[in-house]
């Protein structure tokens, strides 16, 4: 009673303090320098229709590299710790019955989900998508495969191959931009990738290529996390 009253009083007091701030807030009508620069020069410099993509991949490409590294580290740590409880999984993961409807619909839906994920990360420079979103969609397809087929097992060799290859290619493309065109690290100006016409699918230089490998990497990492989690479950 007393505790809840205190919480309500504190909340009210906080609202009383914050309300003048809310009243006096007027959002700035003009952009700051950096935002204005992106809006003025973003489309010409990167050729991407979606300005957020050009910021994420080109102007702030190093941040994206850091995010991918963090995701990779998290996946590695999860795999490392869950591998301790993986030893008796062969006999412990009992085969349970799955309804016919789920099995059949999974066979239809999983290719569609994968295709949609590929669509998201290939169209990253045109639509609000990108590598992370597409990778998450692909990993959701993997969940559906785990749910519908109790005998399904991820091939760790394929996952590792896809993940490491796409990571290396991502960094190599970034380095190629810096070395060949003497631009910056992770810029999208690369020989062989023209800017094309703004709004078409083959445009924006290396952004679709980078996003493709990024999507494959993120999808492989998240699928690996899910696979390790499912394999470490033991049935009662």
């Amino acid at each position: 009673m007393g505790k809840k009253t205190m919480i309500a009083l504190i909340t009210l007091a906080l609202a009383f303090v914050i309300y003048p701030l809310y009243q006096s807030y007027n959002g700035s009508e003009t952009l700051k320098d950096v935002g204005q620069y992106y809006i003025d020069n973003g489309v010409e410099e990167t050729g991407a229709q979606n300005l957020v993509t050009s910021v994420v991949v080109t102007y702030r490409g190093l941040d994206t590299l850091g995010e991918v590294t963090i995701l990779f580290l998290a996946a590695s740590v999860i795999s490392f710790f869950l591998s301790f409880s993986k030893n008796d999984r062969i006999k412990s993961r009992s085969i349970r019955s799955v309804t016919e409807i789920l099995t059949t619909s999974t066979q239809v839906l999983v290719p569609m989900i994968f295709m949609f994920g590929v669509y998201i990360f290939v169209n990253g420079h045109l639509t609000p998508g990108g590598g992370f979103q597409g990778g998450a969609v692909i990993a959701s397809g993997i969940i559906l495969m785990f749910l519908s087929n109790p005998r399904f097992k991820l091939s760790h060799k394929v996952i590792q191959f896809v993940e490491s290859t796409s990571g290396i290619v991502f960094v190599l493309i970034g380095a190629a931009g810096a070395l060949m065109m003497d631009g910056d690290f992770l810029s999208n100006k690369i020989p062989g990738f023209g800017f094309g016409e703004v709004g078409s699918i083959i445009s924006a230089g290396a952004i679709p290529v980078i996003y493709t490998f990024l999507g494959l990497k993120v999808g492989a990492e998240l699928s690996n996390v899910l696979g390790v989690f499912v394999e470490s479950q033991s049935e009662k």
């Binding site: 998201i120 998508g129 992370f132 969940i143 996390v225 899910l226 470490s232 033991s234 009662k236």
Partner: protein, 80 residues
Amino acid sequence: MLIVLASVLGIASMVGAYFAIHSKSLTVAIIATGVVSLISSILFLLLAAPDVAMTEASIGSALTSAIFFLTLNKIRQTNG
């Protein structure tokens, strides 16, 4: 008019968040997290941030609840 939609969605989001914190059953809490994720995705779209909305949609719709439930199952098995 859009502010009315934002208020309704905000109320729904608050109800979901209350359930996610105060529910006795962990299963219900995870389901409520899904509600909060869906509504926040619509709110992001309302604020004209489709990239963030799409990230929230793709992560929050299936992946988060799957990982939560796998973890919950593992905890229950470990504790007997």
